[in-house]
């Protein structure tokens, strides 16, 4: 009866529990077993459902090749749902067959058994005493990481062999840099970023087993340093900059020659009569008409006389006043004092050309500008005459032109082959020059007038002039016979196109002009005699022929043997 009652109550209890929704426990599951030092180990399980009733768990194990079943010696040391096997209960190289049982009022449930050999479930603790220091090297700083094995792992006796691994990263980065350190307990990290903050972690593993957890992060800050590669680059940069500057300076110094080498200057136009200013002003007709050389090609009489230049007026630079008469386009812009003997165009810029317009040349003196102004004035006066107002440079081959007086007239006549630009003479000019001659003649008291005498024309068709000094101004009152009257009055022109000159009376002049003038005359007189040549000759020199010795013909004689100066212009008439 008691048994029946027990069974009945048991069944009743069960049915009641089932009706109420209770159930036996679910199957527990052994999650893992781990040994930290290969001397002890712990197993953890996961409980299944408890069925609504309080459930107890028990762990049972069997050792290899033995049927004895033992229960877990320690449920508490390792925490909940765990079983801890201490040293006495742990055997290495022995297979454990472990089972967990969950039990509640309604029943029990066994987990799946698990075979465990402690050798293969070793997972050590994290390495300890991780220290990171910054050390210096000739290449820069580096990190030295050192650590110790976990306290419980016995590596000293050789029972466990641990290998280590560490990882580094810069603060703020995502990727870790991992390094295997083998069995050593120290590691160096190179190639650091200057001033960076680094994070270091270490972990370990037995030769057959699982990796430990990463140790807690160690922070280290790398001091600022100057990387050696950068300093080398800076040195190279400085050196190249230095060389570059030197080259630039040299280039600057030799800029002219370099310029000549790379960009040879364009020679300026050397067209006779080419007026750049006119071109700029946009009057092309004038420019082109200026190019037309009056008298070239020679359309008038083909005498060489047509090409004669009547006057070459020399302006002194210091002189304030210059007489610019109308019709005078024989003016000289200025004289290039530094007349270079050669007149080759090669390689010279427009400024260098001596045959060109003076206005282009800024070098030299403001006097030249003054001259130019006067030239302009003269230009304006004679607009219709678009000769060479600015004047070709009297770049005659004169070595010396005495600029003592403001005005000096030199009679020159270029040969046809002369490379010098010449003034074309026009009929008007003749007139003008004649008049100027007359003016020069009739200007009393014009002290500044001086005459330059053509000394000779040398082989290269250079007119060599010399001033007529009033050296011998002392002079008696008496006249010398045959002394020169420089100017001869034109008496008339006869039928044969010959100029009839009239001898002037000396005395009369003397009275008029005084000593000075006569002195001038005297000077001229004292000059050596020049023989006149015929006008027909190629080299006609109008020289003063006031030689005492020579017996000049009578006034009415031909121009050829005239006394004093004979205007070359007269010959053309």
């Amino acid at each position: 009866v008691v048994v029946y009652l027990n069974l009945h109550s048991f069944l009743f209890f069960h049915v009641l529990s089932l009706c109420l929704g209770y159930s036996p426990p679910g199957k527990p599951k052994l999650t893992s077993c781990r040994s930290p030092e290969k001397e002890t180990f712990t197993c953890w399980w996961e409980p299944g459902s408890d069925g609504g009733l309080p459930t107890t768990y028990a762990l049972y194990y069997r050792k290899e090749n033995s049927d004895a079943v033992y229960e877990c010696p320690d449920y508490h040391t390792a925490g909940e749902n765990s079983c801890f096997f201490n040293k006495n209960d742990t055997s290495i190289w022995v297979n454990y067959n472990i089972t967990v049982v969950a039990t509640n009022a309604l029943g029990s449930n066994f987990s799946d058994p698990v075979d465990v050999d402690v050798v293969y479930i070793v997972q050590p603790h994290t390495p300890e005493n991780v220290t990171v220091t910054v050390m210096e090297d000739k290449d820069g700083p580096f990190l030295r990481v050192s650590w110790e094995p976990p306290r419980k792992a016995d590596t000293r006796s050789g029972w466990i062999t641990l290998i280590y691994e560490l990882r580094v990263k810069l603060e703020g980065e995502e990727e870790w840099e991992e390094h295997r350190a083998g069995q050593q307990k120290m590691f160096n990290i190179f190639s650091l970023r200057s001033g960076g903050m680094y994070l270091v972690q270490v972990r370990c593993k037995p030769d057959h087993g699982f990796w430990s957890e990463w140790s807690s992060t160690t922070y280290i800050k790398v001091p600022d340093y100057f990387p050696r590669e950068t300093s080398v680059w800076i040195l190279i940069a400085v050196f190249s900059a230095f060389i570059f500057f030197i080259l630039t300076w040299i280039l600057n110094l030799k800029s002219n020659s370099v310029k000549h080498c790379l960009l040879p200057p364009v020679p300026g136009p050397k067209i006779k009569g080419f007026d750049k200013q006119l071109l700029k002003n946009g009057r092309s007709e004038e420019v082109f008409s200026a190019l037309v050389v009056p008298g070239f090609p020679p359309t008038t009489s083909s005498d060489c006389e047509d090409l004669l230049v009547e006057y070459l007026e020399v302006y002194t630079p210091e002189e304030q006043e210059l007489i610019l008469e109308e019709g005078k386009d024989l003016q000289e812009g200025c004289l290039k004092s530094k007349g270079s003997p050669s007149d080759s165009d090669s390689g010279r810029g427009s400024c260098d050309s001596h045959t060109l317009l003076m206005e282009k040349c800024g070098e030299g003196e403001g006097k030249e500008e003054k001259h130019q102004e006067r030239a302009q004035k003269g230009k304006r006066q004679q607009k219709h005459q678009t000769g060479w107002e600015e004047g070709d440079v009297s770049h005659t081959r004169e070595d010396v032109l005495s600029p003592d007086m403001s005005e000096g007239r030199v009679k020159t006549w270029p040969s046809v082959f002369s490379p010098l630009p010449q003034y074309s003479s026009r009929p008007l000019d003749h007139q003008g020059s004649l008049e100027t001659a007359r003016h020069g003649l009739q200007l009393p008291g014009f002290r500044s007038t001086e005459y330059v005498e053509v000394q000779r024309v040398n082989q290269e068709d250079m007119v060599i002039l010399q001033p007529l000094f009033s050296s011998s101004c002392q002079r008696d009152g008496h006249l010398q016979i045959g002394q020169g009257e420089d100017y001869s009055k034109v008496k008339g022109v006869d039928s044969g196109n010959m100029l009839l000159l009239q001898r002037e009376v000396e005395v009369k002049r003397e009275e008029e002009d005084g000593d000075r003038y006569s002195c001038d005359i005297q000077d001229r007189v004292t000059e050596s005699c020049y023989t006149t040549s015929t006008a027909a000759s190629s080299q006609v020199t109008g020289k003063p022929t006031s030689c005492a010795g020579t017996a000049m013909p009578v006034q009415e004689e031909m121009v050829l043997a005239a006394n004093g100066y004979v205007d070359a212009a007269t010959m053309l008439l």
């Binding site: 040293k87 290495i92 190289w93 058994p113 075979d115 006796s157 050789g158």
Partner: protein
Amino acid sequence: LPSSFLCVTVSAVWVGLVCLLFYSRLVRVGAAPICTNGQAGCHILSLADLFDRVIQHSARMHGISSDLHSEFEQYFFPSKNHIGRVNRICHTSTILTPNGKENAQRLAREELTEVILKLLVAWRDPLWHFQQSIAHHHDFNNFSSNKALEMSDMVHELRKGVEKVAEKMQMLGIISNSVNSLTSPEALIPSDRAEWRLMKDYVLLYCFRRDSNKVQNYLKILKCRIIPQHEC
């Protein structure tokens, strides 16, 4: 004719260079031969070096055995439950081996050396037969049979190495001379012969994996006991 002569010359030079290269390599490789049986004129290793060599050897041996074991487990016994029911009795279970750190440290050096040698001797024949059976079985690939062959060779080499270490230790007076009695393998084999023939291949691998681990561990303990400063 001159072109062929040139060819001959060039090829001769080339062959000469190649020979020189190989010779230099050979010379380098043979720079430090291990002395066997006390040959005169060879480079003598220190005890620490000897220990390092045998420990490396044993580590390699254990690695191969682990590989083979996991291969077996993969192909023949996929479920773990099935493994659990197999009664695994190793033929070396008669050899008393320390099962813990204290037990191992309690053993004398000579005893520890003896245990190592016993284990190595006990596995020479079974592994040779295992390798034979694997070579004839078409189920295994070449990789496995090569490993088995290497494993059996290694056991042989390791045993010789450990004997050398024992000799050295005896020479240095570290251990007594009682180890010499084990050098004759015939003393061990007859009693074990029946048992290991019954072993299945898988059990063999299972047992050998464990025993190679024991060997490696015992050697390390021995080394750190005798030469403590060197990597311990």
